[in-house]
Amino acid sequence: MSASEEILLRAVSVTKVFPGTVALDGVDFNAYRGKVNVLVGENGAGKSTLMKIIAGAEQPTAGKLVMEGHPVRFHSPLEAQSYGVGIIYQELDLCRNLSVSDNIFLTREIAPRGVINFKKQREASKRLLARLEHSIDPEKKVADLGVSSQQIVAIAKALAQNVKILIMDEPTSALTADEVSILFRVVRELKAQGVTIVYISHRLEEVLQIGDFISVLRDGKMRAEATVGDIDVNWIIEKMVGKSLSAPPPREGGAAKRVLLEVLGLSYARVEGGHHVKGASFFVRSGEIVGLYGLMGAGRTELLECVIGLHPDASGDVVVDGSPLPKSASVGERIARGLILVPEDRQAAGIVKTLTVGGNVILASVGGYARMGILPRNAGKSEILDMIRQLSIRVSSSDQLITALSGGNQQKVVVAKALLTKPKVLLMDEPTRGIDVNAKSEIFAIMNGLARTGIGILFASSELKEIVALSDRVIVMAGGAVTGEFGRGAYTEADLVAAAARDRVAPRSSGEG
């Protein structure tokens, strides 16, 4: 790195340990003054944790931050702000019930003698928004704005704090191409005004376009730092992925089985325009594990939710085992036809925390055990015990509360619940999120075992290693569309990353079977 560049903020061997995992392991990170410092890495590489530490939302376990040559310690976001550190979170922390200018000036109200001067706030908001080339009405409620306008408001809010360093976490994940180019103009202008930008993105072409310096995180360690002018997309992918693994060879007898799930032209529109899912077509065969890879916001979760029937206004056809589902089919009807979803958010959507293990296992099939509408005391007991054995769920008794179980065992309970509905196709959204390494390999073994019994599995994951290790076939999504399809043995990890980064252009892969 050229010595002439001045470092505004430096993270020095920052380590962050969470119970069970090391999120950051002795990471050094430099943010150069007045430059766009890009930070890239796979999901779970530690980017967000590092940014939260810089923004004062998390405290490092070890290591320190140095700002303009002085060691600093941010105990709260407020303290970080007072040093001129601003952050725009991906999920946009705005009060949707307040107006644009209320949000911009929240806790920094222009209020001489305790009375807010709305006129001044409006004018100042207008000026800030004009700087961002946006004419959003400052009096509008944030809830009434589209996502991209909300993004602009979040940036304006950070600008109002006179930031020296602005962290942007995936700022383009919800934006259209036009909006991205406006955002880039804004970023360049901020840069020209001397603001230091830390820019986190998954979109690699974008990174090359806007970045000055790039740092790559992988598995909690800083792997590389470079000047963007010296590198290309392949370099980034190589550093992100590490040793690029090739896919394992095809399983024996994997092909030529009958198709259990076929999805044709599935689209699901956003209220504010654009699509969550756009024209997705694919199929899953009996005994096949299909991986659904994509970055955050690529539409994987929405796709699975559409297939299971959570979004009745989605369009397109779903065919289960040869017979098309009526569009109006409810979740219950789809389950009866052989589809079932293991949802992403286990705590909120997977388990009922107040029930026992047994109660959770039979939850989805409880109707089948009722005799004349009454549930016998030991309803489904043998099936429950069967499942506990089959999936080796570690419990002392099926009457144990589910919350007493580890994350991995809870996930097995959710899978057991799904299996009791006798599914033909198992949809799994991030099946290994938040569970430890051993439990992960157990879940993998369960999935492989289920596939051998003829069940088709479609699982979404943002973890590359997992996708590569498990999938017979990989479907890659970006921006709501399917951007690639790869059979076993016919791709490398780098191919998947490249397809997932293919933002906003959606050439359909022709790799049907």
Partner: protein, 352 residues
């Protein structure tokens, strides 16, 4: 051309629908007034309007405080009991004074000082609610439900379940004049109505024009975002309960003054009327949304409905049914309006 015209027409129809939905409570209020005017000759007289407004005021004070609490994302079930307890504090202070056994004397305060003491007592009880909610992390529903019983219990204990009657005060003690609050007139308008106007204007000002007010909305709308923006979430939540308690005490003063007697049972179930008024006025129990103006209108709908139904001779039992239906319908329409206007706004943004 034809197409554009149709679209514009469609748009105006939609905005008209939105307008009707947005002002539904005002429209409901006007409808109620028209119906009762037609059914009763004495309904729309100055006399009756002043009387009804005095009734409305008692609930409106509670509802204003409740609006702050609900907008912040909480609830205050203890206001009816605080009303009763503060009434009893006033009754005791006027009737038996404050005995100081050590000195062997009994202190009788000046009436206006008693008023201040009562309101301070309400604020303190509210502060206790606030501490329980913000420091002990007890859910607001439970914390204030507990306080509902505790405060009511103390109200009953204060005079063994009996009332303090004849609170006219004694000239020799210098504590006369208390009935003025509930019975007095200024320029021909009852004092309690003047107070209502003053408190409502002040509350609306605080809610809309001060940083505190904005922070209450921010906390209720998105507590995490408020926190990350540096809003002192705990302090805001603490203060709304104090405001609610103080206003409940004010309401208790007026009730006590009107009766010229402090009844330990007064204010029972008033908390529900206050919540109903706030919700009718467009306050969302999810927090973050609601206005003082809306709450005042909601109070009038509830109050006028109650008085009007009595005047036209509808039985108590039917009154309850009607009140319940009105509340449910109002909130159902409220949900509808929220959805429609959000979608409309986003579409408008797309077009613009």
């Amino acid at each position: 051309m034809e197409h554009t015209k149709k679209r514009v027409l469609g748009k105006t129809r939609q905005s008209l629908k939105l307008l009707v939905l947005r002002f539904r409570t005002v429209i409901a209020l006007l409808v109620i007034i028209v119906i009762f005017t037609l059914l009763s000759d004495t309904f729309l007289t100055v006399q009756n309007i002043l009387l009804m407004t005095r009734h409305v005021a008692i609930n409106a004070f509670l509802a204003i405080g409740m609006t702050f609490v609900i907008v912040s994302g909480g609830i205050d079930l203890s206001v009816g009991s605080i009303l009763g307890l503060c009434g009893m504090i006033v009754g005791a202070l006027i009737d038996v004074g404050m005995p100081l056994p050590i000195f062997g004397v009994v202190i009788y305060f000046h009436t206006w000082f008693i008023v201040v003491i009562a309101i301070a007592a309400g604020a303190v009880i509210g502060a206790v609610n606030g501490v329980i909610v913000t420091r002990l992390n007890v859910a607001p529903f439970i914390a204030t439900l507990g306080m509902l019983y505790v405060a009511r219990g103390f109200a009953l204990l204060s005079n063994n379940g009996s009332t303090f009657p004849f609170l006219n005060g004694r000239p020799s003690l210098g504590n006369t004049g208390f009935p003025f609050l509930g019975e007095g007139n200024i320029l021909g308008v009852p004092v309690s109505i003047w107070l209502l106007v003053a408190v409502a204007l002040l509350a609306a000002f605080v809610a809309n024009r001060t940083p505190f007010g904005r922070h209450v909305y921010a906390v209720g709308g998105n507590e995490r975002a408020a926190d990350l923006s540096g809003v002192r979430v705990r302090r805001i939540r603490f203060r709304v309960y104090m405001i609610s308690g103080a206003l409940a005490a004010l309401s208790g003063l007026i009730v006590t003054s009107q009766l010229i007697a402090a009844n330990p049972a007064s204010g029972e179930t008033y908390e529900l009327n206050a919540i109903a008024a706030a919700v009718l006025g467009g306050t969302s129990l999810m927090g973050g949304r609601g206005t003082i103006g809306g709450t005042i209108i909601g109070s009038f709908v509830i109050g006028i409905l109650a008085d009007g139904l009595v005047m036209v001779g509808v039985s108590d039992f039917w009154q309850m049914v009607i009140k319940g239906v009105v509340i449910i319908v109002a909130v159902a329409i409220d949900q509808l309006q929220e959805n429609i206007s959000r979608v409309a706004a986003i579409q408008e943004e797309k077009r613009g």
